[in-house]
Amino acid sequence: MAGDVVELENVGLRYSDAGAETLRDVRLRLTRGGFYFLTGPSGAGKTSLLKLLYLQQRPTRGLLRLFGEDVAALGRDRLPAFRRRIGVVFQDFRLIRHLSAFDNVALPLRVSGTSERDLREPVREMLAWVGLSKRQDAKPATLSGGEQQRVAIARAVIGRPELLVADEPTGNVDPGMAERLLHLFDALNQLGTTVVIATHDVHLFGRAGRARLLRLEHGTIADPTGEFAHPPRAAALAAAG
């Protein structure tokens, strides 16, 4: 569909030939500008599904479309262009330990060729938003877990990605900061970014009014009404009802 940022059709993922499928028969469409929470018990495959979305993994079977293009068999040389359209908050943050908070946040802009002059102000603003103005020169090793997480979030959103994928983005921050970060995601979503947040934090669900809940169980999306496999039909049914 033209309005879908992400489309998965019968997607399966296994990490080794001998192992069982971590994800199986996943059918999912995420519409442009949507806000989604991905939930499910530990081991259900949330992180694996996110890895497919930010192109760390490719499906072992099925169709994966991002931004309208089949990326399951995309050539390596075309991956960077897709990845630059996606912001990622990794569960383990993946900050580069030799770089300051400023340089870590500036990384996506530098990778995409933004000049130093053009990136300085946005990076400072973003660090201020996540409350780390005074820590911009600090290396990750000297930051607390929560501070590292905020740097990771700032890095994920600095380039105004079309798709934001966040794996437990508020796991290490206090409730006040969690709410502030959720506002940040919400603001980004209102600018058109599709947001997918994997979380166990039930308090977050109610704070983003437009958010929809995706539940992953045993490696597949629990979607009894077909709401996520066929969003237009679900929308039509809702309108008829």
Binding site: R58, R76, L79, V88, F90, I96, H98, L99, V111
Partner: protein, 298 residues
């Protein structure tokens, strides 16, 4: 127009890896390899010069001896031989070696004062010929017809084993250079792979943030090139010191063959260019190794 990001490597981007050169012994191993490469090249260049010198200066040289016990007959034969040589178009130069010099040559072998006054030494004429072996044969025939006591010795015949040895040494030097270059390339490839393994996490993160293989390769390639520059500078300094010292010692020998092999300024320029070639080779090998390794990744 702004330069594409993949070709740019400004200061902030360089900081993606820890400061300084690559870890490990690679710069020093490269320095040793390049040092040996320069020495091998110097040897090869010296041998090339010596071989050329032998060909040009000595191989066309002929010694005519008038072996005659009667001094008067020896003088007549010598004068006749000089006449013939002067009239021969193949002769570029013909000069009699003074008797005192001949005596000194013999004494050099037998010891000073060992030569009795009554021993008859041959008269000797140094001749430079044009025309190669055919001209020597022709001269020999004509001289023997006119002066039966004349013996013609082509110096090239005596020098042929020396020339063969010089050629062999030159080949050996070339072979050593090839081996050194191959070993240097292998060291760089290993160092490049080690660098990738050491920064696997950073590389994966950069990839996931949208960095291209070429952007990542440039980070490592620059560091390896810096290491190679360091190794090349050390190698050049050490090799220059060794070659200058060796040159000074060889000059003391006052040997004509050694003087033929002395390095000229153009040879020094070539040797100085070798570390630069080493840096280029290291950079290209690193680039190819890194790109190949990254393409095998996810």
């Amino acid at each position: 127009m702004r330069q594409p990001a993949s070709l740019r490597l400004d200061a902030p981007e360089r900081r993606l890896l820890p400061d300084g050169r690559a870890e490990g012994p690679m710069p020093w191993v490269l320095a040793i390899m390049l040092f040996l490469l320069i020495l091998a090249a110097a040897g090869g260049l010296a041998m090339t010069r010596a071989a050329a010198g032998l060909g040009e200066g000595i191989a066309d040289r002929v010694t005519v001896q008038i072996v005659e016990a009667d001094p008067a007959a020896r003088e007549r034969g010598t004068a006749r031989a000089l006449q013939l040589l002067a009239a021969d178009p193949a002769t570029r130069r013909a000069a009699r070696v003074p008797d005192a010099e001949v005596a000194a040559l013999v004494e050099a072998g037998l010891g000073e004062g060992a030569l009795a006054a009554e021993v008859a030494l041959p008269a000797m004429i140094d001749v430079d010929l044009a025309g190669g072996a055919a001209a020597v044969d022709e001269l020999r025939a004509r001289l023997r017809a006119a002066v039966p006591a004349a013996r013609v010795d082509a110096n090239g015949r005596w020098l042929a084993p020396v020339a063969d040895l010089v050629r062999l040494l030159r080949l050996l030097a070339a072979g050593l250079m090839v081996l050194m270059l191959a070993a240097s390339a292998a060291v760089v490839a290993l160092a490049a792979r080690a660098a990738l393994n050491g920064h696997r996490g950073t590389i994966e993160t950069l990839h996931l943030l949208g960095a291209t293989d070429r952007q990542i390769v440039r980070l490592f390639q620059r560091r390896i090139a810096l290491d190679a520059v360091f190794g090349g500078a050390v190698a050049l300094a050490a090799a220059a010191a060794v070659l200058l010292l060796l040159g000074a010692r060889l000059a003391e020998l006052q040997s004509s063959l050694v003087s033929l092999a002395a390095l000229r300024p153009s040879s020094w320029a070539l040797l100085a260019a070798l570390p630069a070639a080493g840096v280029l080779l290291a950079t290209l090998v690193a680039r190819a190794t890194l790109l190949r390794a990254l393409r095998r990744g996810p």
